[in-house]
């Protein structure tokens, strides 16, 4: 099946900034997240795809058409920006109608669009009078009115409070799935990326760091930068000592842990381990010594304990620091306190080995 959207080797120099060989593809109905810190080139990538910058090299294919040389108005790409970019001098109906092809006046020809998004009662309102959710729907309706082959979202939620953000995110995902139009969503918030996306691209300084599904990126980051960016709580320097029948032996400080080897090139020598906190189990030291121990069981001392509502963060020390999560009732049941000895278990496939 051919891809609905394909970007090949897109390169661009914009003043001091450079986009380096951006590559990705999208299928119909797929949501791609471009994730990265500020200044990594996320917006520039979107703007280049939309046609506002001429790339030095590369191709952009949308719905089978090579649009690389086309002006923005001929690319059939819908664009939604922060705060939704509604035209303040036009009513809702006029905003939506402006994208209609072949229509001159401001009457909405497809009233179905307004009712599809449930905003026909807002037809004559001014954008300034709308709530964020209403604005989003108007922006979607407007973009949809021009029958786009691709949707692009440039951090539309960054100026909104957490609750609204969550709500709108869910709504957006529902709409996009129903419309089955491919979408590229840009954000610097990894929670948002996790909630919304199918595929994620991590950008840094104009280059792609890693590309993969949400699960891959979050559980198997390709390097420390990505790991930090996606919120991996434990990144530990280590040394790969040996490979033992499908397990890598790694030395972390004075401890030995075993990790599932990553796909692709096996790191040798100096490496970094990425361990997500939620995979680490913390339990009281078993009374009976000599009980069966699974791989990667470590004895640690509780260094810090922070209880925040239902969740507690535990920092334990066993030659190196580890961060883990516990539910508050668990903490109580265990009678956990700073200075206690605990047993920490990490499943080998929760330890991801990275070259750097």
């Amino acid at each position: 099946m051919s891809d609905a959207v394909a970007v090949e080797a897109l390169s661009l120099t914009l003043g001091a900034f450079r986009l380096k060989k951006i590559d990705f593809a999208l299928a119909r109905g797929e949501i791609l997240i471009i994730l990265g810190p500020n200044g990594s080139g996320k917006s520039v990538t979107l703007e280049t795809i939309a046609g506002f910058h001429r790339p030095d090299a590369g191709r952009i294919v949308v719905a089978g058409r090579d649009v690389t040389a086309l002006p923005p108005e001929r690319r059939k790409i819908g664009f939604v920006v922060q705060n939704f970019g509604l035209f303040p001098h036009l009513s809702v109906a006029q905003n939506v109608a402006i994208g209609e092809r072949g229509h001159h006046a401001g009457r909405v020809h497809n009233k179905d669009l307004l009712s599809y998004f449930g905003i026909d009662h807002l037809a004559n309102r001014a954008p300034a009078d709308l709530s964020a959710g209403e604005k989003q729907r108007v922006a979607l309706a407007r973009a949809l009115a021009s029958a786009p082959d691709l949707f692009m979202f440039d951090e539309p939620f960054s100026a909104l409070d957490a609750e609204t953000r969550t709500q709108l995110r869910a709504e957006l995902k529902t709409f996009l799935r129903a419309l089955a139009i491919p979408a590229i969503f840009v954000t610097h918030d990894h929670d948002e990326a996790m909630a919304l996306g199918d595929t994620v691209i991590v950008l840094r300084d104009g280059g792609v760091m890693q590309r993969g599904s949400v699960a891959e990126i979050f559980n198997k980051p390709s390097n420390s930068f990505v790991a930090r960016f996606v919120g991996v709580e434990n990144i530990l320097p280590a040394r790969v000592v040996a490979r033992l029948s499908n397990l890598l032996t790694c030395a972390v400080d004075r401890q030995i842990v075993y990790a599932t080897p990553p796909a692709g090139v096996l790191p040798e020598g100096a490496a970094k381990l990425a361990i997500r906190a939620e995979h680490i189990t913390v339990s009281p030291v078993p009374a009976a010594l000599g009980a069966a121990r699974t791989r990667n069981t470590l004895e640690c001392r509780v260094k810090a304990l922070r209880v925040l509502g239902p969740l507690a963060t535990v920092e334990v020390e066993c030659g190196f620091l580890l961060k883990a999560y516990l539910l508050s009732p668990q903490v109580q049941a265990m009678g956990l306190a700073e200075g206690n000895l605990v047993e920490v278990q990490i499943p080998p496939d929760a330890i991801h080995v990275m070259a750097e």
Binding site: A50, G51, G85, P88, H89, I98, G99, P127
Partner: protein
């Protein structure tokens, strides 16, 4: 009291309605502003009132009855109108370029646009005379090719008015365009509007009020211009020239009456222009 705050900088219009705990006890800052403002207002208004009340209604009617006073005022309005129209036609595109593009020498060009405001009016008139006179670098070919003369014609009046007043349109339009978020223009393009339709349907309406303010200033400045106009065109007389001559020949009374007539007509036109500015402005653009 409800204050509507509308910001168009950096984002697009987001009106937040602030219902201020209304100055039941106006703060010191507010009072100070009003005080300083009143002083300036008085400084501007009192001489105008003194001028207006200097003559009786009878004098005004007499002045209005003089055919050459009427034709001088009409000529001033005609010239100012043409000057404002030309300033808009050429100045608005220039303002758009200055607002949207960066190029080497942009700062210099922006400064050059302000320069006519600093040139003494007589000097401006002489400069224009050198260029548009019968032997001028532009005047000679224009007269030979299209028969366009500037000495003693409406064209000369317009040229002098435009020179001293065009900067107002360009600067105001530029500020208006700079306040329109370029992202809105980009979105319009992605919705299928080409560059022209984007400009006409999005950029221009959002910058309209600023542009009209600039055009009104240009119009006002044009009507009152004397020094530059009088070098190229003494006859036919514009209102300021006529008022000057009345003053020299007959004295203060006649001149003041004609001046007040001019002011009344100008005031009416400004109100009209302001209304036009409001009408054309987006309905939701706020006040």
């Amino acid at each position: 009291m409800t204050i509507s705050v509308e910001t168009t900088r950096g984002g697009y219009a987001e009106r937040s309605r602030w219902t201020s705990a209304a100055p039941s006890r106006p703060g010191a800052l507010y009072l100070l502003c009003w005080f300083c403002g009143s002083v300036l207002l008085a400084f501007l208004v009192i001489p105008l009132v003194a001028l207006a009340t200097h003559q009786s209604g009878q004098d005004l009617v007499e002045a209005a009855g003089m055919a050459d006073v009427r034709s001088a005022i009409a000529l001033s309005i005609e010239g100012a109108f043409l000057s404002a129209a030309l300033a808009a036609l050429a100045g608005v595109p220039l303002a758009y370029v200055l607002a949207r593009t960066a190029f080497p020498g942009k700062g210099l060009i922006a400064a050059l646009i302000d320069l006519p405001l600093a040139v003494p009016h007589t000097v401006a008139g002489i400069a224009l005379f050198l260029v548009f006179g019968r032997q001028g670098v532009l005047g000679e070919p224009l007269q030979a090719l299209v028969g366009l003369k500037f000495w003693g014609t409406v064209a000369g009046i317009v040229v002098a008015m435009l020179f001293v007043s065009a900067p107002y349109t360009v600067n105001a339009a530029r500020i208006g365009f700079e306040a329109v978020d370029p992202r809105l223009e980009k979105i319009a393009r992605t919705l299928g509007l080409g560059p022209w339709r984007t400009f006409l349907r999005i950029t221009l309406p959002l910058a309209w009020r600023s542009i009209m303010t600039g055009v009104t200033l240009t119009f006002a400045r044009s009507i009152s211009e004397f020094g530059a106009v009088v070098i190229l065109v003494y006859y036919p007389m514009t209102a300021p020239v006529m008022i000057y001559e009345l003053f020299l020949r007959f004295g203060l009374e006649q001149a003041a009456a004609a001046a007040v007539l001019l002011l009344i007509v100008s005031l009416a036109l400004f109100v009209l222009l302001r209304t036009l500015a409001q009408r054309g402005a987006p309905a939701t653009g706020g006040r």
